[in-house]
């Protein structure tokens, strides 16, 4: 058996800044994970459906538009509706510290703000993914 961690990296919402998402995608790849990169402007519904079809272990959400509260929470809500809350949801981007508790309450397991070393994110995924 050779299990691999499968990660969906998605950018919900309307901002077009995908540099951060690409950096994370690359870091996950270099850590031996399989990254399904979905591209820009995804709806929460698309992201969740993708994660289910791809049998993802992790969803990494990136948002720089300020709409993270609505979009990230909606992803978590849809996962619960589909009985898929075992998928680890993490988030990143320009997210004010004050917003983090609400996101965590909604089901985002961890929020990484700008400046986080990619190594820290990889280690978090490896330690928290449910296999």
């Amino acid at each position: 058996m050779n299990k691999k961690i499968r990660v969906v990296i998605a950018k919900p919402g309307l901002d077009g800044h995908d540099r951060g998402a690409k950096v994370i995608a690359r870091a996950c790849r270099d850590a031996g994970m399989e990254v399904i990169y979905t591209g820009l402007r995804q709806t929460p519904e698309q992201i969740v459906e993708t994660a289910l079809q791809e049998d993802a272990d992790v969803i990494g959400l990136s948002s720089l538009s300020g709409a993270h509260e609505h979009l990230f929470s909606r992803v978590c809500e849809l996962l619960r509706e589909k009985n898929a809350e075992d998928i680890l949801v993490i988030g990143g981007g320009v997210i004010p510290e004050d917003d983090i508790p609400a996101l965590e309450k909604a089901g985002v397991k961890k929020v990484f703000t700008p400046g986080t070393p990619t190594k820290e994110i990889i280690e978090y995924i490896k330690a928290n993914v449910k296999k």
Binding site: K4, R29, D30, E34, I36, G39, Q46, Q53, E54, D55
Partner: protein
């Protein structure tokens, strides 16, 4: 296991997604399930989309699938293969980017796969993923290979119809008569046909095809497409349908599938044998043989014979 089998029969996408993962991870349970459901396979028509990197395979697949959904309302599975890093084992699977609108279509299932060290344009488990999608009731299954060079021809042993996507400007006419990839196409799609050099490429392919023996029963058509602007897609789908009809009417579909199954069986045997040879118990023996070969006590051919004898004896 009974639950999974029932879910799959009912067309449950999540069960299918999990079964594909199990097959990818080489878990025994996956193969037990596939054994039990083997009767439910063979209904889907499998279309291979292959071609060099950046030739537009994903975009073309996206457009073909939309056409099928719109015109015929058939269910479609898509398996998109991208390369795995030989250094880290990781992969960026990015074919979905071109298929975003399809992700919410109830009648479509898309799965991305890394090659995981397998050469030939597909991953080892691609064949199993095809079976899983077949079992959950997909009418058509598209397999998009990794971007290929000249000799990744596994697709022809997996698909019923193989479409080779070419783009103008990649080389001179000698490329067209080389062996390998150019021989496997049932249909040529000359994509990005809005660019210069298209007519020359079409002429070169035609010339190559004219050199085929006269009694070849199927002459691959060449379809000009421009996937981004959705041009030539209807024509390409028509060509696929014509090829499908031809295979059915001539009974070649059966011949082809039997030949593909034979290849599949051989692959499974090969793998079993390899896993026997690479078993831990044989590790020391292998090492000793290698040392002996290094010191010229024996040659590598004799050493290989010794290993084969172990399996036969075992």
């Amino acid at each position: 296991m009974v639950d999974i089998i029932e879910s799959l029969k009912a067309g449950d996408k999540r069960a299918a997604a999990r079964l594909i993962t199990k097959a990818e991870n080489n878990e025994k349970e996956a193969f037990e399930i596939l054994k039990k459901l083997y009767d439910n396979t063979g209904n889907a028509y499998v279309i291979g989309i292959t071609g060099p990197p950046g030739s537009g395979k994903s975009t073309l697949t996206d457009k073909l699938v939309k056409e099928i959904r719109k015109k015929y309302n058939k269910k479609v599975g898509i398996i998109a293969v991208d390369p795995t890093s030989p250094f880290t084992g990781g992969a960026i699977l990015g074919d979905r980017i071109r298929m975003q609108d399809l992700s919410l279509d109830e009648g479509v299932f898309i799965r991305s796969m890394g090659t995981r060290g397998h050469l030939g344009g597909l991953s080892k488990a691609t064949n199993y993923a095809v079976k899983v999608l077949d079992i959950i009731g997909m009418d058509y299954i598209f397999i998009e290979t990794v971007g290929v060079g000249q000799s990744e021809v596994d697709i022809v042993k997996t698909a019923d119809t193989t479409v080779l996507v070419m783009v103008p400007g990649l080389g001179d006419d000698i490329q067209a008569i080389k062996a390998g990839i150019m021989e496997i196409a049932d249909i040529f799609a000359v994509n990005k046909a809005d660019r210069g050099g298209t007519d020359r490429l079409v002429a070169e392919i035609e010339m190559m095809l004219d050199l085929n023996p006269e009694n070849t029963p199927w002459k691959p058509p060449i379809v000009k497409t421009s996937a981004v602007s959705n041009k030539g897609v209807t024509e390409l789908l028509d060509a696929i349908k014509t090829h499908k009809k031809f295979l059915k009417e001539t009974d070649l579909l059966k011949t082809k599938r039997i030949s593909n199954i034979e290849t599949e069986i051989l692959k499974i045997v090969k793998e079993e044998l390899m896993s026997l040879i690479t078993q831990k118990e044989n590790h020391d023996k292998r090492k000793r043989l290698a040392v002996d070969v290094y010191h010229k006590k024996i040659d590598p051919f004799t050493a290989a014979d010794c290993l084969i004898k172990i399996i036969k004896g075992g």
